[in-house]
């Protein structure tokens, strides 16, 4: 299926460089993130895709010596996410993240999802109930947990925990969701459930996903970016990248020819 027109921008990296101390991990990245589309980042380990992903919600701020150059513009308000006067906590309300391994808090299922809302100052029980339910439904796990909301989240299976983490990310109504290899610790069935969920979620939220699983990128994404050694080699429609990539390096990577 062809995507006919260019959708609206949700975010855009402009001349983005990133340094771990002296080490330049991202080299002049320019890339659009389209609104309510799934964009996959692929590339070999160490190519900078996770570094790039984490720049969006300012995860790198947590460690000293890390440094950004350039901009990540976030729309519709055209904020530069990397600007010093932008509060990372506020950014993370708008940009949720789901990690490789499910990382529920050692709290109840309910409290895991309510956490972000409480941090935001929401303590009205009725509002919390409503938003938690909505988020759990959005993450396609409501039916499995609705009768055990007060149980510890760690009692859930890996796949359920991951969907719980997605619900937690959804609870604050983010505009962009970052997925960092969300299924690499899951079995094929749980992986299928997450992929199905991604497909549902993109109706209301923009998604940026890092994956080592090329077929997964091909299945779930509308756009794909191939990164190598901190550079963005090729960005394009997923349909085109996987049938006829323009760059030989992309071709070699996706066909498994890279030594």
């Amino acid at each position: 299926m062809q995507i006919q027109e260019t959708p609206a921008l949700k975010a855009e990296a402009r001349n983005l460089n990133f340094f771990y101390g002296e080490n330049k991990a991202l080299k002049n990245i320019n890339m659009p993130i389209y609104d309510k589309k799934v964009t996959a980042l692929i590339g070999p380990s160490g190519c900078g895709k996770s570094t790039y992903l984490r720049s969006f919600n300012r995860m790198h701020d947590l460690y000293p010596g890390n440094r950004y150059e350039g901009e990540i513009r976030f729309f519709p308000d055209n904020t530069n996410l990397l600007s010093a006067d932008v509060d990372p906590i506020e950014v993370r309300m708008r940009i949720g993240m789901v990690f490789q391994k499910p990382n529920p808090f050692p709290k109840s299922i309910f409290e895991n999802v309510a956490y972000g809302l409480r941090v935001r100052g929401e303590n009205n029980r009725r509002v919390l109930d409503d938003k938690v339910e909505h988020a759990l439904k959005g993450a396609a796990i409501w039916d499995e947990v609705k009768d055990r909301l007060s149980e510890l989240a760690s009692n859930l299976s890996g796949g359920q925990q991951q969907r719980l983490c997605i619900a937690r990310a959804l609870a604050t109504d983010p505009e962009l969701l970052l997925f960092d290899e969300p299924t690499s610790a899951l079995d094929p069935i749980a992986t299928g459930a997450i992929e199905e969920l991604v497909h549902e979620l993109k109706k209301r939220v923009t998604i940026l996903i890092v994956t080592h699983n090329m077929q997964q990128a091909a299945r779930v994404s509308d756009y794909t970016a191939y990164m190598f050694l901190g550079e963005m080699i090729e960005f394009g429609k997923t349909d085109e990248i996987f049938i006829k990539p323009q760059d030989k390096r992309t071709e070699d990577y996706i066909t498994g020819r890279m030594g």
């Binding site: 090329m214 077929q215 091909a218 996987f242 006829k244 992309t250 070699d252 996706i254 066909t255 498994g256």
Partner: protein, 230 residues
Amino acid sequence: MNESVHLSSQFDEDLSRLRTHVLQMGGLVETQVSAAIDAYATGEIASVKSIVETDRRVNELEKAIDDDCAHIIAKRQPTASDLRLVLGISKIVTDLERAGDEAKKIAKGVRRIYEGGHMPSQYGVGIRHLAEAALSMIRQALDAFARLDTELAKSVIRADTDVDTEFKSIIRQLITHMMEDPRTITTSIDIITIARAIERIGDHAKNVSEQVIYVVDGRDIRHMGKEAAQ
């Protein structure tokens, strides 16, 4: 086309074996077509049997290659040039198999004509010429596939127009002939069948060439007219 090797040497072997099988199959089809044309020219209807026999091997190879394609897709999930190669091959073998069927049709038509004692001498030159052109198209299409040569593939596609024109001209001659002398109708119909089969072989060669262009460039130029092959 990507010539560097895969991380999985097994995958390289799978793909290379697949290509070899296609070329083997193509070689058989080429032999069939060539033998059918010879039979037409010489009246050696003994070769008809071996053409039919070869067709069975061609059919088996078609199934075996399709099966290999399915296995590669299931096991390797090929992408980009690998994917195009597998998809292209799956279509190419269909055309090769059909070209083989057409060769069989020619052989059977030749047998009917000669067994009936009706020497088609007055059409020898026209049919022969048409057949040589179609045979050359099949050869070149297979060469284009073996070398992944899009220029050669394009020249095959262009050549198809000439074969079509020649075919129409032969049909016109035959119609005239049938009107002049109705006793020739039976033989003429057999010759029309043969000419039609030859013309179809040209079409299959053209289809193979279009797949070569898809495999190499990722461009699908089917049904786009001959301008696409310029």
